[in-house]
């Protein structure tokens, strides 16, 4: 299972030896995407089990963000994407979101001109259960007390870490079944990163939501995730339970900064 052992133009099906059999929430087969003439994804296969955390690892330009963008229809894509048995690969982004797929996007996607609270209200804009929305405001303000302090402040004035919290809270306001998270630790101070990951653990425990997590910080992601996929130049080159992936030698040298130098 070394990255070099990949057959030309082929992908390797995920082999989950030993992982518990659980309901597949998101099933992706042969996902392809391009930016103009440049192909970015060459047939990605991946599964996310309901309620689990799946990490998508890889270097810059491997296609992690592209995968998330293709899944929620922000870019043109080919292949078969099924959410809880329903095909979503031909749907518009807003319709996919309405099926319960929330996205913490690359760059956070803050509505900078709206207040913190208005940003959160946008997260719940498709919901009709007023009482539930009200309760969720309180719940996520409790997750992120900083956001409560700044609820009437223009969101563009929040710090990077606060905006990341806002992006996560806004996504949770949708009450999603699946949460796509694009580099929640990007550009944050180490303490803030710890904070964000602590919250993600809590989300997993308290919310019935599956997370597909894109991370450059492989060590943190593998600590949190149940399953992991490694992308290289638009191909899945390695996948399996996070514990297995973590002990893989190639991963250890290339992504976890193990001391023995790469050959």
């Amino acid at each position: 299972m070394s990255p070099q052992g990949r057959p030309e133009g082929e992908y390797r099906r995920a082999q989950h030896e030993g992982s518990p059999v659980s309901e597949v929430l998101l099933d992706v087969r042969g996902l392809e995407a391009s930016y103009g003439a440049t192909r970015a994804l060459f047939g990605i296969d991946l599964q996310v089990a309901a309620g689990s955390i799946t990490a998508l690892l890889g270097a810059n330009g491997a296609g992690k963000t592209t995968t998330l963008r293709a899944l929620c229809g922000l870019i043109r894509r080919k292949g078969q994407v099924t959410l809880a048995g329903q095909r979503i690969d031909g749907m518009a982004t807003e319709e996919i979101v309405r099926l319960g797929v929330a996205h913490v996007p690359d760059g956070r996607g803050t509505f900078t001109g709206l207040t913190t609270e208005e940003n959160l209200r946008m997260g719940a804009s498709t919901r009709r259960d007023r009482a539930g929305v009200h309760a969720d405001f309180e719940r996520f303000y409790e997750y992120f007390p900083r956001l409560k302090e700044r609820r009437h402040q223009q969101a563009g004035t929040l710090s990077g870490g606060e905006q990341q919290m806002l992006a996560i809270a806004r996504a949770l306001m949708l009450r999603p079944r699946l949460l796509l998270m694009d580099e929640p630790s990007f550009g944050l101070a180490p303490l803030m990163v710890q904070d964000i990951f602590r919250i993600m653990r809590r989300i997993r425990e308290e919310q019935n939501v599956a997370i597909l997590l894109v991370e450059q910080n492989a060590a943190l992601a593998l600590e949190l995730a149940d399953t992991a996929y490694l992308l290289e130049t638009g191909h899945v080159v390695l996948s399996g339970p996070a514990t297995t992936v973590r002990s893989n030698d190639a991963i250890r040298t290339a992504y976890l900064g193990a001391v023995e130098a790469a050959a």
Binding site: G109, F111, T112, E118, S125, L174
Partner: protein
């Protein structure tokens, strides 16, 4: 003193005209972040439709509300058929399309309705308790209508969930889609609302300047100046800006420079304000930390 008050009130009456069209510009801006140069011509076109309905024997208010519906549909259709195709186009291309739309609607109206200048009825009585010797009942009524529209627009954008979605869509369409907002609908709705507000402006302006194809050509420029002076994203700002431009123009014309230069001087003053406050008197700068 009486002359001064009368000049002030006349300025407010003109200002109300600028304010009502400026309000339509603000609605488009708040819901799409575009400034629609064709807004005046859309309003003129809608006002011709009212005139046709009234000529066909419709009561004034029936024609008024029918025009609102038609103008709303016209705005939404223009967005859906034309502006939507340009979503990824650079700003300058969109500006060209707006200018083209202005010219097209202008000549289309001339071709359909003719270039003759026609009278247009006011819904407000000729003489009434609320019109004194200084302002006609129509002027008072038009100002009241402007404030009513301002209140509706303000409350809609500030407090309604739909208004919030429209503001969010204008600011960040991608993030809006990612929280499930049907962005296409929001944009069409914004254009529709602006079209309807513009139509009200047209129907209030036409009794004063008379209905013809050119009735909005001057007004749009001052409405635009008013909106920018007040802060293009702020409805109260646009209305305040409209009244300021109207009063300034009248006062300068009467007491300072005479009628020839009154608008030039007013616009120079506006530029002066914008140099000091680039976001307008009521606009708030959007601060972005990264």
């Amino acid at each position: 003193m009486n002359a001064f008050v009368s000049q002030l009130l006349a300025g407010l009456a003109t200002g109300g005209i600028y304010a009502s069209l400026a309000l339509a510009l603000v609605v488009i801006y708040r819901s799409t972040h575009h400034v629609n140069f064709a807004q005046g011509e859309m309003a003129m076109f809608a006002t011709f439709i009212t005139a046709l309905l009234i000529e066909a024997g419709w009561p004034y208010w029936a024609a008024f509300f029918a025009t609102l519906v038609i103008a709303f549909a016209m705005g939404a259709v223009i967005e859906a058929l034309l502006i939507r195709r340009l979503r990824t186009a650079p700003v300058l291309s969109i500006v060209v399309v707006f200018v083209a739309l202005l010219v097209i609607l202008h000549s289309l109206a001339g071709w359909l309705f003719g270039y003759a200048i026609r009278p247009f009825p006011s819904p407000f009585a000729e003489t009434s308790w609320y019109g004194g010797s200084l302002l006609s009942p129509h002027q008072v009524g038009a100002i009241a209508v402007t404030f009513l529209m301002l209140a509706l627009v303000y409350v809609f954008f500030r407090f309604s969930p739909l208004g919030l979605c429209m503001r969010a869509t204008a600011e960040n369409p991608v993030s809006s889609r990612l929280v499930g907002v049907r962005v296409n609908r929001m944009l069409a709705l914004g254009w529709g609302l602006a079209g309807a507000i513009g139509a009200v402006a047209g129907m209030m302006i036409a009794p004063v300047v008379f209905l013809d194809v050119h009735m909005m050509s001057g007004v749009l420029l001052y409405a635009f100046a008013a909106a920018v002076l007040g802060g293009i994203g702020s409805a109260p700002g646009a209305v305040a800006g409209g009244f300021i431009v109207g009063v300034l123009e009248n006062m300068l014309g009467t007491y300072v420079v005479g009628p020839e230069l009154k608008l030039s001087v007013a616009l120079v003053l506006i530029i002066g304000v914008l140099v000091v406050r680039p976001d307008g008197l009521f606009g708030k700068a959007v601060v972005v930390r990264v």
